[in-house]
Each structure stands twice: as structure tokens, then as C-alpha cells.
């Protein structure tokens, strides 16, 4: 007897479960939750805080805010940032001053922890919301953040 009641219960609970899936099957047009990536690249927007990669914004005069203080380099847990700096003469005061030569960023090492951006006293580096970082060659993941010929904005001190 329990053999038949088992079969009956099995089918009954199966149908109970299928009532849920059936409901979604019939209303799937309205409530689709999947995205048509990569067809929706143009409209896909990441959240403004999304950590894609570290970038250094430059203004229209090709000036950034990095003073070469190396605080980001120190804060980074895994050596993703290397600051190559030089000493020069500050035009305004005529004194010797540290200048950034290259801000080297290894995206391939970066764990997206955000400590460098927290540590930067002049907000020279920020997060970009770029999410397609794969390349064919990992050397392409080593980037120089300050653009060629750029210089630090006047008046930016750490």
C-alpha cells in the first residue's frame, strides 16, 4: 500500500514544485533577469563606485594632480604600483622638488582593494568603471597612468 502512496506523494510534490516553475515559464517575458551581454555593451552601465581599474584623470591642459609622494605605492599590499620619480626645480618657488616621472600600474597584479585611492592625499587617482580587462598578452596590463608630456597641476601639494 505504501508503495502506491509513495508514488502518489512523489507525483504530488513534483507537481507542487512544477507549479512554481510553470508560473515563471508563463510569465518569463516580463520578468527576464538575464542580460544579453555582449550585445548590450552600449547600454550596460556599471555602478559609479565599481572598481574596474585605477586611472589618473587629466584635465584639458594635460595636467594631473599626482605629486609623486609615493603614498599609494606604500599602501598597496602587492606592489601593483611603482612610482618612478625625479627631482626638479619648482618654477614658482625656485626650490628643489620631487616630480613624478612615471606612475606605473600593474593591472594584472591589482586586487582591487582600493587602498591606494584611499591613501592618495591629492585624489590624483580614481576608479574607472571599465569591466573588460582581458588581453591576449599580460604585458598589456602594465600601464603608465600619467600621460606622456603631462605635468602636475600648479598648486597641488601633498
Amino acid at each position: 500500500m505504501s508503495y502506491f502512496s509513495d508514488i502518489y506523494n512523489g507525483i504530488k510534490t513534483l507537481l507542487t514544485g512544477m507549479s512554481v516553475t510553470g508560473k515563471y515559464f508563463l510569465t518569463s517575458r516580463k520578468g527576464a533577469i538575464t542580460q544579453q551581454y555582449p550585445d548590450n555593451r552600449d547600454t550596460l552601465k556599471m555602478f559609479e563606485r565599481f572598481r574596474g581599474e585605477v586611472v589618473m584623470p587629466h584635465d584639458e591642459n594635460n595636467e594631473h594632480q599626482c605629486t609623486g609622494c609615493q603614498k599609494c605605492e606604500l599602501a598597496c599590499p602587492n606592489g601593483s604600483i611603482e612610482i618612478i620619480w625625479d627631482r626638479g626645480i619648482d618654477e614658482a618657488t625656485g626650490k628643489k622638488k620631487k616630480f613624478i616621472d612615471k606612475h606605473v600600474y600593474h593591472l594584472g597584479l591589482c586586487t582591487m582593494c582600493g587602498l591606494c585611492i584611499e591613501a592618495c592625499p591629492t585624489d590624483a587617482i580614481v576608479w574607472a568603471q571599465n569591466y573588460e580587462n582581458s588581453t591576449y598578452d599580460r604585458t598589456q596590463l602594465t600601464k603608465v597612468l600619467n600621460r606622456p608630456g603631462s605635468k602636475v597641476k600648479a598648486g597641488v601639494e601633498d
Binding site: 507542487t16 514544485g17 516553475t21 533577469i33 555602478f47 563606485r49 572598481r51 582591487m112 582593494c113
Partner: protein, 373 residues
Amino acid sequence: METTAVKSNFKSEEYFINMGPQHPATHGVLRLLLTIDGEIIKKVEPDLGYIHRSIEKMCERDSYQQIVHLTDRMDYLSSHINNEAVCLTVENALQLEIPDRVQVIRTILSELTRIASHCLWWGVMGMDVGALTTYFYGFRDREMINDIFEETCGARLTMNYNIPGGLMFDIHPNFVKRTKEFITHFKTKLPEYDTLLTGNIIFQKRTKGVGILSKEDAISFGASGPVGRASGYSCDVRKHHPYSAYDRVTFNEALKTEGDTFARYQVRIQEMWESMAIIEQLIDNIPEGEHKVATNAVIKLPKGEFYQKVETARGELGVYIISTGTKNPYRVKFRSPGFSNLSLLNHIAVGGKIGDLVASMATLDLVIPDIDR
């Protein structure tokens, strides 16, 4: 006459098989050495270390701010709670007064993490016992939580949102709205979980009475979290040693006494309801104030030993720091819930079938990076 002779000569023999390191039911790179006799399991030996990254050793090299982001990579499904554990240890050592706002936000995020982790577990649990549909339902609801995290913390999994002294930045203006939306949404969806899977007779036959762990054994193996609580061992750190804002909310500790796979399943479903209750109590009155207190750029802990435990989605996570007064810890030890919970797998699986082992393992909810570290 002849047939009986054949029967008495018939001998079964024990043999080994490997389960993993990439078997889908091991949820990662865990290798189990099974000694089986036919289909009956005689012994289960976990073989660890495939993704050991020496996080504890790396901590000795890093500053206290840098340690936090390494713990994201232990139990990646409870990463916020892991971060919180390290931050609490450092804050206690420095005797910092943490603003109420930070404590409440941390608690809400921890509970969201717990729900997200249990959603994923529920989906995968169904899949392990042969119900593929649950996977999509679990992930659908988890995705909403991931969106909340992404908007506020900037990442979906490895958030690193906690820093010693508070939070890295304040919550996003949409945070409260989104969290409320999620709670309303999930309240209608969680009953679906029961309709889909809990009541299913096939699922119940696979799980009831399988992998029984008694309360005594749970305690002696150091089980914690839902695994311990399903055996009647009241071990919720949030209840017994409240941290952050857990002392100002009321919730029930999900307890069961059966100790079988189905009880562990029910405890986790119950915990999702409790987590929602905790969030609802806090979300409407997040106190105003600072999102962090200032610490020195170089944090030096006083000389001594510091310990703090928290309740992750898997159980009790302990952080033990020995400091000699310098900017790096002398030694960091993590007491991870997954390691203790894995140690009892042999105990509950012996005598059962391989299929039962898969079901028991699913409710231990193992995250291998948490075990290997």
C-alpha cells in the same frame, strides 16, 4: 548445490577511489580519498592544500590595513564578515570607540552577506541532489544583494569595505531603498524555496536520516554555525558573544535537534528568515554620524595577544593576532569554520552510500579557500 558454492566463494573487496580535486560536488579543489566496499563508504580522507596561498604568513608581511583585503579571499562568500572580524580585532586592541552608524551598517551588510551565501548554498544544494532548477532561483535572489554591494562597496564579492576604524566610505544614497526592496522581494520568494525543494519527497528521502551528527560529536569535532546548530548545539556567536549591533536586535537562534542533513538544511532556511528580521529592525534607523574614526596612517598594535570571533555564514571565525608592538603582526591565526566542519565528514559519512556523502557534504557548505587559506 553449485549456486551455494558460488555464493560462499563470493567475496567483496575494499578499494579506493578519488573524489575530486575537481569533482563538481566538492565545490572546489577538495580531494576526498574514499575507501569503499561496493557502494558502502568505509573511510573518507580529505586531502587538502590544493589552493593554499599562505594567507596567514602573508599577514605577517602586511600592515593592519592590508591584512583586511586578504581575508576576502578566505571564505569568499562571507567576505564582508571576514573583513569585519579582522577590523574588530584591531579596533579592540587599539581600544577605539566605533560610531554607532558603523556598527549598524556593518551588521546590515553582514546579514545581507549571510543571506547571499545561503541563497547560493541553497541553489547548489539542490543541484547536488539532482534538482538543477534551484540553482537559477538561488542566483536570481543573490544577484539583488550583489547589486547592493556593488553600488555601496564597489565590488560584488571581494568588497574590502571595512577598514580598521570604520568603513572605507559612507553608504550609497540608494542603499536603504535597495535593501528594503530586496527584503520585500525576498519575503515573497523564500516561500517558493520551500515549495520547490523542501517539500519534495525525493529530496526528503535523500536527506532525512542521512549523515547524522549527535550533539556530543558536534561539540567534540568543533562544529559551528548551522552544522552545530542542526545538532542542537547552541553556538551562535551573535547570541552568546554579541559584537557590532547584534546586542540591540532580537532574533531567534535557529536550532534543530535531529542532526541529519535535512535538519542542517532547515536551519539555513530558518536563518535566512532571521537575517531578514535583523535587517528590518536596523534598516529604518541607521544612526547619523561619521563613517569612520581617524586612525594613524601606520597602525601599531600594543604588545600582546588579541582574539575576536564572529559568526560567518559557515560558523565561527576566530582571528588571533600576536603583536610585538610593531606595524606588522608577529603572527596571525584564523580559526576557520570550514576546517572544523570538514573534519567531521568522515564521521558522518561512514556506513552510508556515496550519494549520501554528496548530500551530507552539500549541507556542510564547504568553501575550500576557507579550509586551505
